[in-house]
């Protein structure tokens, strides 16, 4: 067994994801199968391989990622707040975080 029920509970907590008991067990089993399959990666010796952290090479991104820092007015705050479940312009309101 690659992943235990406790692992799934811990990970769900890290991801702020509420899972039912049935979901916990189903996912544990399915993820266990997937991790079992993924284990085949260990057949490859990658000791001297650099991980691929970027898709584009430096010469493809150099001028794409650097630009002048220019101020551009952006006036969509009102429209964005309209999408919020509980807005109080100009704020997003959330349940109380700090207990006294």
């Amino acid at each position: 067994m690659k992943i235990s029920r406790e692992d799934v509970v811990r990970v769900a907590e890290l991801a702020y994801l509420d899972l039912s008991d049935a979901e916990l067990e189903t996912y544990r089993k399915q993820i266990d199968d997937i991790l079992e399959y993924v284990g085949k990666l260990n057949e490859l010796d990658t000791a001297n391989v650099e991980p691929m952290a970027q898709v584009l090479t430096d010469d493809q991104t150099a001028d794409a990622t650097l630009r002048e820092d220019v101020v551009v007015p952006c006036e969509v705050a009102g429209e964005i707040l309209k999408q919020a479940p509980d807005p109080e312009p100009p704020y997003f309101r959330v349940p109380k975080v700090i207990e006294r």
Binding site: A15, D18, Y37, N42, V49, P51, M52, V55, L56, A64
Partner: protein, 479 residues
């Protein structure tokens, strides 16, 4: 009215005033009304926006001004691409009522080029799936075989074009989500190189893999849409300044003498016999066209699914952290901040999304990062190297798009791993960042479409399109 429209056909008809853009738009909405209840391919229609654009095109024609390249062409957009003022759900309950305040750059470019945006297409939730059965709004049916899936995740975008409910559409591809539904629905479908098409306004699934690309009924139209959406966008730092060639002009160049790599690693076990026969017959077409067929090895192919599902889920777990009930979308429970986060996400996400968030969080978590995520990134480097090595010997690579034709609805939903294996031939190119296209390559028993996939080197879209066009012209679709 005519039913099999192409981009050129639309332009000629409206320029010659045989039909107005408004009439054509109305005709497409009537077709959608007639077919969509059985196909479930459109989630939201945007007639107000579509007719306003059609009227703009009709005014251009009346004034005798030159027409933009996609004037009056009815186009559908996958529901993971933001559309200003039109609901964008990502196939998820968590964004059921979300109305973006801006357009994705690809959508904006299509509209600037004269296209008429009909509406938003169904897809697997947050583009996670290979059958469109993970949509919170029900599965899409394959118009070529109504008891079967259209593929996924861009199943709706493939189905609407195959059924004649749009002339072209946009999908997104993370591990095969454009190419595989294109294959299963029998139409050409393209994923450009990583960095080729702006992703601004694409709601992110896995940022090192996600790409935007077109579906159409023929390769020339795929090229026409690519030409409009490709190119640098200052709003997307991963879009490159590499020049965009005139793809349509490149199409007619002769393919004789081009070297095509046939990676025997793609023709191993697990492929449906019917698919194998069609792909072999398809390869014969390239031979007749005078291409040189070269046997190549891509030794890390067999590890691609494993690497892909580590990397894609890790990135998804991070990208989907934004759905927390604060700024947009669903909010459930108001007891405390943390329980609001947990319940909102638990209720709002569907099973596949939750499964991937758990897996992705696990492979990134302390103690497992090196064994899974880092290992996956290293194997990804090996797969990318396979492609670089291959492209020192060949101009393009030919493979099947999917190991199986369209399968029956419900047939594979219980076993996620089996579903993931459907992406076996497409995820390699996703990991490597290279462009790929699926073109129709005959039908099994004259019914179920087969797709042939062509990969080119990074930013070699023109070559891939040229080969796909030659294949199509030589009768590839009826092989």
């Amino acid at each position: 009215m005519m039913t099999n429209w192409t981009i050129d056909g639309v332009k000629e008809a409206i320029a010659a005033k045989k039909v107005s853009a408004r009439e054509l738009t109305g005709d497409f909405y009537r077709r959608i009304e007639a077919r969509n209840s059985e196909l479930n391919a459109f989630l939201t229609l945007s007639p107000e926006r579509a007719y306003a654009q059609a009227d703009k095109m009709d005014a251009l024609i009346a004034s005798g001004k030159p027409l933009p390249p996609l004037a009056g062409v009815p186009i559908a957009i996958k529901d993971v691409l933001s559309t200003r003022g039109t609901r964008t759900t990502c196939g998820s309950k968590i964004l059921e009522n979300y109305i973006p305040p801006y357009d994705a750059t690809a959508v904006e470019r299509l509209e600037s080029a004269g296209a008429v945006i009909l509406g938003k297409t169904n897809c697997d939730e947050f583009a996670m799936g290979s059958s469109n059965e993970n949509s919170a709004y029900g599965p899409v049916r394959n118009p070529e075989a109504m008891d079967r899936v259209p593929g996924g995740s861009s199943g709706g975008s493939a189905a609407v074009v195959a059924a004649g409910l749009a002339v072209a559409s946009l999908g997104t591809d993370t591990g095969g989500s454009i190419r595989q539904p294109g294959a299963l629905c029998g139409i050409p479908a393209m994923m450009g190189s990583y960095g080729r098409v702006s992703r601004y306004g694409l709601i992110a699934f896995a940022s090192s893999l996600d790409r935007v690309g077109p579906f159409a009924t023929n390769v020339k139209d795929v090229a026409a849409v690519m030409a409009v959406i490709a190119g640098r966008d200052p709003k997307d730092s991963t879009s490159t300044t590499a020049p965009v060639p005139d793809y349509r002009a490149e199409l007619e160049k002769p393919v004789k003498g081009l070297r095509l790599g046939i990676p025997r690693d793609y023709f191993a076990e697990g492929m449906d016999e019917g698919v194998r026969k069609k792909i072999e017959a398809g390869i014969e077409i390239f031979k007749k066209l005078g291409c040189q067929l070269i046997d190549i090895r891509m030794p890390h192919t067999d590890y691609a699914i494993a690497a892909y599902y580590i990397i894609a889920t890790a990135e998804a777990s991070s990208n989907l952290a934004r759905y927390d009930g604060v700024r947009y979308g669903l909010r459930t429970n108001n007891d405390s901040l943390l329980s609001m986060y947990r319940k909102t996400r638990g209720v709002g996400f569907g099973a596949e999304v939750k499964r991937r968030i758990v897996l992705g969080t696990y492979v990134l978590s302390a103690g497992y990062y090196d064994a899974y995520y880092l290992k996956g990134q290293k194997v990804r480097a090996l797969i990318a190297q396979d492609f670089r090595d291959a492209f020192t010997k060949v101009d393009a690579i030919v493979t099947p798009t999917s190991p199986v034709p369209a399968f029956k609805l419900g047939e594979r939903t219980d076993d996620p791993l089996q579903m993931y294996l459907a992406d076996i031939y497409t995820v390699t190119g996703s990991l490597a960042g290279v462009p790929g296209i699926s073109v129709p390559c005959g039908r099994i028993n004259d019914k179920l479409p087969v797709g042939l996939q062509l990969f080119g080197p990074a930013f070699g879209e023109a070559r891939v399109l040229q080969l796909a066009h030659a294949f199509e012209q030589a009768g590839g679709a009826t092989v």
